[in-house]
């Protein structure tokens, strides 16, 4: 079935952590499937996370696969097995075991047709995810590291949206026209992505290095004596950075547009609105955090801590607003009857939440490092979801939330998130100015030869 080389590539259990998490999620997914079959109608999106965990390592390994003496056919087969083959098997095994155990113990609460639809939905999700995965590679190869970051975000959003929608359809049997339209759109996008992946396989040669040598830079030694720390320099730099950020934002905006197509927001989705807010707030937060990746570069510039603080947060806001704008337009188009003052207020609070979380992530990353900021990102989901519940209640027109009159809820939430935002900015300044991990401002080196004064 597999040649020895394909077997080596497919059964290579690396990276260990991701494979371990994938196995854990597989078990949880099996339990969820069993619960669903018992009659507990809750959506199961653990399978998609399992597949994600298993397959994400493939993109990391693909560049090394290229140097191995393995034919293109074998590479293609290994890629197929990693992206689709093994996850398909995992789904079928999970559903099969759950159904067998359920039938054996006599607590099967769904029909055989329902189980087939359930398995079909899971398999479709797995297929779509494998098809979308190469998009991150394409974006990475086209836009470099920022493309990789945005590509990952696009990937997460799309997968989450697909997962919520599909599992929602299956679990709640809410087959409405807009869901079908969103699904059709997502399938079309996945098909396009699949086409791209066929043209640009994961083991694509890296062509970013193939760049012409630039003409030598003009002599700017005379400029070195000028002050580069003025506010004009700051805003010139901010403009350049903003242009780059806008480019990224354009990509992300497209992703959000697509994601919104898959996950239309509005009053028509009652019970599941919460599930749709969380990934979108999470996405906006992650997008707002992207400018922090340039912190190391900013740290090398002759800017004060205050200037760098403002620049980081300015960039964060600049990145989020076009995305938010695009999202508002698309959601308004998708659900024109849902647009009213409450709808707009809910989404304004919602984007403020994302802004404040992103603002808080920056000093957390400065203090605890970029790896640990992910823990904060995960933990922030809890209070974030709490806020989302409030917005959901607002959307649903409920009179009170936790005993508070709904008229005060938007104000209360706005003040809370603004406070978080302000604290985030102040903490950033403190970290940059006095923090132990801060890159301290260094004065420019003198522009004369050493010892020339003697």
């Amino acid at each position: 079935m597999m040649s020895p080389n394909v077997r080596r590539l497919v059964l290579d259990l690396s990276p260990r952590l991701q494979v371990g998490i994938g196995l854990m999620l597989w078990i949880i997914s099996g339990l969820m499937a069993a619960l669903w079959m018992q009659g507990n109608m809750s959506p199961n999106f653990f399978m998609i996370f399992m597949t994600w965990s298993f397959t994400l390592g493939v993109t990391q390994k693909a560049s090394t696969w290229r140097i191995l003496p393995v034919s293109a056919k074998d590479l293609g087969q290994a890629q197929w097995w990693c992206l689709w083959g093994l996850p398909f098997l995992a789904v079928l095994i999970t559903v099969g075991i759950a159904a067998s155990v359920g039938a054996g113990f006599g607590w099967l609460g769904v029909s055989g047709v329902d189980i087939c639809v359930y398995a079909g939905a899971e398999l479709t999700l797995v297929f779509l995810m494998g098809a979308i995965l190469p998009v991150t590679r394409v974006l990475s190869s086209t836009f470099g590291p920022s493309g990789a970051t945005t590509g990952t975000i696009v990937f997460i959003v799309t997968i989450l949206s697909l997962a919520f929608r599909w599992t929602g359809v299956v679990a709640f049997s809410t087959l409405r026209p807009e869901i079908l339209a969103g699904t059709a759109l997502s399938v079309t996008l996945a098909a396009v992505a699949y086409g791209l992946s066929a043209r640009l396989p994961l083991a694509l040669p890296n062509t970013r290095r193939l760049k012409a040598q630039k003409s030598p830079a003009p002599d700017r030694s005379a400029d070195a004596t000028k002050s580069a720390t003025g506010w004009n320099a700051l805003f010139r730099l901010a403009l350049k950075v903003a242009m780059t950020v806008l480019l990224i934002s354009a990509v992300v905006a497209i992703a959000i547009v697509l994601a919104c197509g898959v996950t239309p927001l509005g009053e028509t989705f009652d019970a599941q609105d919460i599930l749709q807010y969380v990934p979108l707030v999470g996405t906006l937060t992650a997008i707002g955090y992207v400018p922090f990746l340039s912190q190391r570069v900013l740290a090398g510039l002759p800017l004060s801590a205050l200037q760098r603080t403002l620049m980081l947060h300015l960039m964060s806001v600049t990145t989020q607003f076009p995305v938010f704008g695009a999202m508002m337009i698309v959601t308004a188009i998708m659900n024109p009857y849902a647009v009213n003052v409450t709808w707009v207020i809910a989404r304004c609070v919602f984007v403020l939440t994302a802004l404040s979380f992103a603002a808080a992530m920056i000093p957390v990353a400065l203090r605890f490092g970029q790896k640990n900021v992910l823990w904060f990102y995960g933990l922030a989901a809890t209070p974030g979801a709490f806020g989302m519940v409030a917005l959901n209640s607002l959307d649903a027109g409920e009179p009170t939330w936790l005993g508070i009159d709904m008229a005060y809820v938007p104000t209360l939430l706005t003040l809370t998130v603004l406070a978080i935002y302000g604290l985030g900015v102040i903490w950033t300044y403190l970290e940059l100015a006095f923090g132990r991990a801060a890159y301290r401002h260094q004065p420019l080196a003198p522009t004369a030869w050493r010892g020339s004064g003697s």
Partner: protein, 295 residues
């Protein structure tokens, strides 16, 4: 011993964006250490990638050990070892796991040699790759390449980040490899003094064009650098290049294959000093005046 060249490039041309590599026509014989030098962005990595089959040229043919790229890509990759600073083994976690994964693909893997290299480069199988320094990661790539009996080693910037001891070990290993006259090493590096001592052939790539490819001694003998005093304008003879001029003092680079020594006699030139050329001097001189030299 077979006479098939190690590498044979004919009409090789690769374009990407505004950058074009080639056309290149050249042959690398077996059993040599070829130094591939050139300024940043000259196309060295691109050329090595094309030879390894990691990219596709727009036109031309690449023959490796008599095998054709990309038709015999797998057979070529089995006989060629490749080192590049961009190779990333992080995903395998530890040095040992990365080695165990890679060795499965090569029947000619020499486990004893691998262990010896690990010890020499002061790496342990349990070392976590993401904690290695940049030099440590290069060492791991080198171990992967040197632990096999590959017929050709393509080493792209193998000395970047290496300490002096590691560099010496690398050069010792390369010399051991080329004791076998059928094995070939191609090194791209900016450490020109090291290459001058180690390599027996040199290829100079500038702006995507291969402007020189010759035995190292022959290449250095071919060019002469002189300081002289001259009245009036500098000589405009084919093969003579003015590297610097201050008043009536000039520094000239003379390509002896194009300009004989007595060709300068009619130019009222008084030679003050004949400066011995190093590879670095030659590189700087050629890199500064590419178009005319290429002509």
């Amino acid at each position: 011993m077979t006479t098939t060249p190690a590498i044979e490039l004919s009409d090789l041309y690769c374009k990407s964006g505004t950058f074009a590599l080639g056309p290149i026509n050249t042959t690398v014989p077996r059993g040599c250490v070829l130094a591939l030098i050139g300024p940043n962005g000259a196309g060295k990595t691109t050329l090595l990638d094309l030879i390894m089959g990691l990219g596709r040229p727009n036109r031309g043919h690449i023959q490796i050990l008599g095998l054709s790229q990309p038709v015999d890509e797998v057979a070529i990759k089995a006989r060629v070892a490749y080192v590049n600073p961009d190779l990333n083994f992080n995903v395998w976690g530890t040095v040992g796991r990365a080695i165990d994964f890679i060795r499965g693909f090569y029947p000619d893997w020499d486990a004893e040699r691998c262990d010896r290299l690990l010890k020499a480069f002061e790496l342990k199988r349990t070392d976590k790759i993401h904690t290695l320094s940049f030099g440590g990661r290069i060492k791991l790539s080198l171990i992967m390449a040197l632990s096999r009996a590959a017929d050709i080693l393509l080493l792209d910037e193998p000395t970047v980040g290496l300490d002096v001891n590691a560099r010496r070990i690398l050069f010792h290993e390369i010399l051991e490899i080329v004791k076998n006259e059928s094995r070939t090493v191609v090194i791209s590096s900016h450490q020109l003094d090291d290459l001058e001592r180690l390599a027996d052939r040199c290829a100079i790539l500038i702006g995507g064009q291969l402007i020189a490819m010759a035995p190292m001694d022959g290449l250095l003998d071919r060019y002469r650098q002189i300081d002289g005093l001259i009245e009036g304008r500098a000589p405009t003879i084919e093969g003579v290049r003015v590297l610097a001029r201050q008043d009536n003092r000039v520094r000239l680079l003379i390509d002896r294959s194009l300009c004989l020594d007595d060709a300068l006699t009619g130019w009222n030139l008084q030679v003050v000093a004949d400066i011995p050329m190093t590879l670095e001097d030659l590189f700087v001189a050629l890199a500064a005046h590419t178009p005319e030299v290429a002509a």
